[in-house]
Symmetry: D4
Subunit: 256 residues, 8 copies
């Protein structure tokens, strides 16, 4: 029951004001004790809750995956270890009709997921400055794909060899959103920002050494960008960038 249904029910005296008060206070979430699963999120935000696997105990992870799978028919987990994958695989038994859910793990991006068939729309480009930035890019790519976007990958186009980027500009120019992933000095975002008309989500990575300060330098570069249309997410946050790109792509692909 949503708020207007509740109030109608009070008016009709189907429920007491006291019961109504209780229901009004609690928007739906599932209480697991150590966690409160946000069952309401899909309605509120358009995408269901995602599991940040890093450091979660096995029993918690299993329970959370089961709940979310039951709720949505698919689950996306980020920053999962191979061990978590194996543990989860063993735990998720099949049922009479449909067999085991199809749990997949990608070692490069550390994405662990059960994914429904779905139509993919629009176009996102994920590009990196170097090869060392690829794992973060893959996390962005996988996330955006899971949330229904077509994704194209353009890797190793850092600004020190500009022709590699320039030779791929047309692939970038018809995207609804570009995710630019770069460590070290992070200059890729600014250059890409000057070449495309869609928003650019900049992802600094912890690739580098010395004064890169684990990605802080790249983050500062991107935040200070002189180019238009660039906004920034946390260091190594491929997931966050993929999410936003999917939001923008969804809004750009459907007439509203």
């Amino acid at each position: 029951m949503d708020i207007s249904q509740i109030l109608e029910a009070v008016k009709n005296q189907t429920i007491t004001p006291q019961e109504a008060e209780k229901q009004l206070k609690y928007l739906p979430y599932e209480e697991l004790g150590y966690a409160k699963l946000d069952a309401h999120r899909k309605i509120r935000q358009g995408f269901p809750e995602v599991v940040f696997c890093s450091g979660k105990k096995d029993e918690y992870l299993i329970e959370i995956f089961r709940h979310l799978y039951k709720e949505n028919g698919e689950v996306l987990g980020t920053r999962a270890t191979k061990t978590q994958y194996e543990c989860l695989k063993a735990a998720l038994g099949g049922d009479a009709e449909g067999g085991k859910p199809n749990l997949e793990y990608d070692e490069e991006s550390h994405i662990l997921k059960i994914e429904k068939e779905k139509e993919h729309i629009g176009k996102i480009v994920v590009c990196t400055a170097g090869t060392a930035d690829i794992p973060v890019a893959k996390e962005a790519m996988q996330t955006a794909y899971y949330f229904g976007a077509n994704v194209e990958e353009v890797y190793d186009v850092g600004v020190s060899g500009l022709h590699r980027l320039l030779g791929n500009v047309d692939r970038l120019q018809d995207a609804n959103c570009v995710v630019a992933v770069a460590g070290m000095e992070g200059a890729l975002a600014s250059v890409v920002g000057g070449l495309v008309s869609c928003p650019v989500i900049a992802v600094p990575t912890s690739v580098g050494y010395g004064a890169s300060m684990h990605g802080l330098s790249a983050l500062l570069t991107m935040i200070n960008s002189c180019a238009n249309g660039i906004s920034v997410v946390n260091i190594d946050n491929g997931y966050g960038a993929g999410y936003i790109a999917a939001q923008i792509n969804r809004q750009s692909s459907v007439s509203r």
Copy 2:
């Protein structure tokens, strides 16, 4: 002539290879000596070049405004002083037919502009945590409006009095993009991010004192946000946020 036209002309021997080579090297920009106006930008990026007025000499500003006005029929300037406005106003004479261009200055946002009539589409919401954040919000609002978006303002809805924000949630929920402007601890972005389904552009402001470190704390808060859909621009960069919001709004409002 674009690149294929140039090459056709070479083939037809209308121009020599030497002339062609020259033209191929130089994409269009207007050389003013101290500046190179990016006449190509409107084609490449969809929005024409904007003038960062802060610290520009008067004679430069006048010349740049004249060129851009002639090129596009409108000009947007950011971070302008009142003195610059007055100087520019005196300098921009009218012509035989149309009279003086309509130069406008907004003291709060420091936006200085000549604006064409245009249709405004979609919807962006700009919200602030406190009243001290309003000048930055106004810069975002003015920018997005100039670039063709409808903009709604929701001010003073900081998280310490949550009901003020909750009472305005429905105004946020049907936007194509929300710009969340906050100084001090900058928590507004995370809370807004959890309540809407569209992308949130977070703008940290330099409002605060002590450990706010001129906005660095708010920037870090926003970059570390646990909510989905949040990306961040530089401290006090209302312009940047307004630009991205307008990009997203444009893509979201027109079926592609």
Copy 3:
């Protein structure tokens, strides 16, 4: 009407569900356009809203003071300039019965207030390391006093001349809360923390030079304190410390 009254009214069909829905969404605040006064705060938090005067336009300040004075019969403003005081003084006219409200300004703490007679309870001690820390201490003192606490001041008892502090220990030991204000290396908080049984609110100040980094060093010292019972507020945030001290004092003075 509170939530249960609203729901009773729906049940009794005094109001429609639609009206109820509207009222439920909006907890009380007064919309001034540029600001949303939190009329609800006194009920929710026990102390009414306070005005951070710094940088507020005169017309805003006058309007806000009028509203809050009307609401609560008293107003506390922090970080006010003398000019704001004079402007406000001129603006706040008297009425038929009671004459002008008694606006007071303290140049040292920059507190600007209209204060009701009230009973003061319990005991707070505000102490400083040096004389340069006194303005911040006065802000804490004035705030705590405004919110109903008895406050004792113990100034210039920094750790480099320990006997000055030790000679005043008994004045500290029967307080409900001690506010320890110190700049430079900020060691006072740790020493005080080891000598008293009540909570110590540590306020780093921007007093110092060089590596004090405008109070950041003192803040770090206090956050890292090896003594028990110390928690920290922002640099120069006398108001915040006074507020918390008043909360603790109030809870400690009234049996619950």
Copy 4:
């Protein structure tokens, strides 16, 4: 003998001035060579000394636990490893009458303790933004409980899914003190601060990655909070927060 007893004894010539001088200089502590146990602390501060186990040699730890147990009948140790627990368990033999002291270890909070039966008073709430913050919260909870407070736990109520927090507000609103534990951007403290009337002790955690800088970002967020009644302790310092909460709870529960 306290100072007045000593002076009486001098007057009565029970002791010589020379002996008195010696005694006056030395407040009671137990000299273990490598450590000086603060036997006086319980009198001076109301709670006995607590053992920071991390990195302490086994023989030291055993000796310190023995002394403190003998002195107070109970001991609280923080940041203990499982190995330390096992070593201590083996070492602490029983005696003729009472058997071994009841040594308990909690793996999540790393609390190692021997605890006396005691009455618990008042109410503290410990809440966290996410599940990864729970170990720090447990340290706070265990500490406050050891020092005699009733403690209620409210976990995984981070601001990105606000309804989870709002659904638990009434549990927070009747506490004497709320401990708000959060990593990443640490926004929980500000939101809680705006919803309750008691003091909020904010504990930043090192949960996060990239620009969270091991908790520094959350610390800055909390220090800059725009909400009233918030003071901050060190990153991951659950113990410190639990101690202060217990102080405030004790003062609030007993009429003074």
Copy 5:
């Protein structure tokens, strides 16, 4: 009366235990309300209290100078403005016998003092990297001289023209202490440290620009020095260095 005299008096019943207790608690300091002058310092530390003039109100400064002059026959003030000097000069009247105290002000070091005739012993060398560091060096020099040391000045011997330093090495090598003052990269301290056998007090200065970060870079350089015998004081803290140099010089000049 010192502690043994007090206790004798109690024994002899010249004073009551109650009076003794009071006296024992309060080591001597003069209470000025806003300040507590540390009259005991000369006995405890060998040098009387010094006045940090910066930001002190005129009436406070006058009163403090009067008290300290009366106590010690001389006063040293640091970081004084010319205005403070003039105000103090006007205020300090002469008396029947001796006329006005001889107040002196040095514009370069901002030292304001009344100085007794005294014998100067030993030898300190104060050296600087550049001419811009001289004001800080002068503060060190004046302080050390006031506290009884002979001081030699060796300026503009920065490491980029090493022969200027090498040509003065013998002047440094027979000092009891060298004060090395340098901004920018602050390398002087390390080079001096390798050339002399006495302790070197390193004073970073805020001279520089850009990444010098107001002296922080020089401070870090000095703290990380690979040379032996170097310890560091705060940025621009010539006074502190002069004080320590005078301590070391005093101890080195008098057989103990």
Copy 6:
């Protein structure tokens, strides 16, 4: 074909404008999917591409070495592990005529290379402050040597024992470029900068502890150098310094 050849071919109708357009867009690089080898670099920059081995997968490394070896007859790899060396050694088979390429690995500098015979010209000096800086210096030395420079090594000449440096000054003074490698306080660069007439490339190292902050302090020292002719590369970036030194040496050794 270069651009003028392409345009001639269009004019002569040897190729169509469409083919020309394609070729003009893509400057030569070899697409490996995960990497884009910059085959053009040797022409554009005078030195062929170098392989940053750290973290590269074995199969990638082998493929990249094969391509670059085929292209240039030699390959330079930096930051290689011994395992990578062994893997590569096993993989690079010989051919009919020339046998296996001569793969060499230097454990100190972590340089992994196949090097052609070549003439070495000019002179570079690489010097270090301490012995712990030698691995970084070796990386610089090896790089510069690979790119054709004569290199002389002068180690352990830190400023705390100045005579060690002064005794080697004449070896430095006839170099075309000096690479100064130093950790801790990094003062070597300034002193060397004052003694030679050629450019000095300063390399901060992560040697040190505490406030050296993994080389950041040395970096700041070098950036703030008061000596002329000093420019700085990243912490531990021996490769970068060796490259620049080789550039300068090449330009200085060949009349242009």
Copy 7:
């Protein structure tokens, strides 16, 4: 007399060993008391001493200019104010034969100089990202020109409009050294570094706001550059970059 002449003279007993010892110790510098002019520098480093005017007292400045002018027939001063120029102009009288020295002041770069006719050799390019970086670029340009280089200026070629830079690449590619001046995110250096074969001296500027932290962000970007051949000087240090560029240009233009 140089060292071998001195030793010959000792052998020939023209001077005593004692006199020789004295002379050997003191390399030539002129002692002005507050400064030690490095008369030896031209011989040691190839360029005479330059005056950092900022903050120098007028009388010092006049005396230093006179000495250096007499010594070298020309003087270069950096960071001079217009007032210093006027004061110096008034002070430098003419002499019988040649009239006043030709003192010139450039308001943009704050260079104050007396310059001899000289031949200019080679070629340096100074380029900037934006127009706001021009003053720093001018300082570099003026310095390099003073030290005998031909200098070409290429301004406003920041990476957000890449075609402006690409249209000028050939002007950069035949330089002996490129000075790349950029504030904000400072990405220009990396892009230029990938396009030219000569060394690039990167100059971060304090242009920007918010997280640019007065140039620190640009400095970090440049230090972390992924391109080869880039070394970095201090923020706004146009002089330093110009000096190094002139060194490299000199070495590159003269066969050695």
Copy 8:
């Protein structure tokens, strides 16, 4: 031969000027290739060279110990591992007369030494805030003792239990130098500085967690100390503090 002997020899024509020139350039150090042992240091600085063992290769360490032992009859090594001790012990064979040198290793301070019998003079006190600071204190103690000082240890006297420090004040007050070792907030130095008349060398330690930032917070506290007579060395630099304390103690104990 020293410089005057060399010059006499030239005069007497015992050596040629050319030979003299060579000798004058090289002050004595022993060239080991990878290191240059500073044989001159004992004369120049009064204490012989000390070996920083951390990270040194075994063969280097053995060779360096042999040289220094032969030179001075004793050697002090810091930051040695137990493995290095064992390796060195095996390597250092005895000779005909005297047997093996007596190599000692202290696991707590990581000091590895061969020590001659010597007289110890004066008095230094090394004190710590906590027990975790003891290893750093031991390094200071061992160093000062090796260099001939009597050393007294006063541990676990942190400021949160002030009576532990006050009960030991008289042990501190007759020292020639106090070394104050503290991590976390590092307040001990300020309190000690206010209680003694001799110089205090403050050593920040990396003890702590969270915002202690590995000792940086304690370093800042100590650098900003409001007490007189405090200078600071690097984090965990017990050796450095012990060295300076020994210098001051030596100067203070011998009449000069």
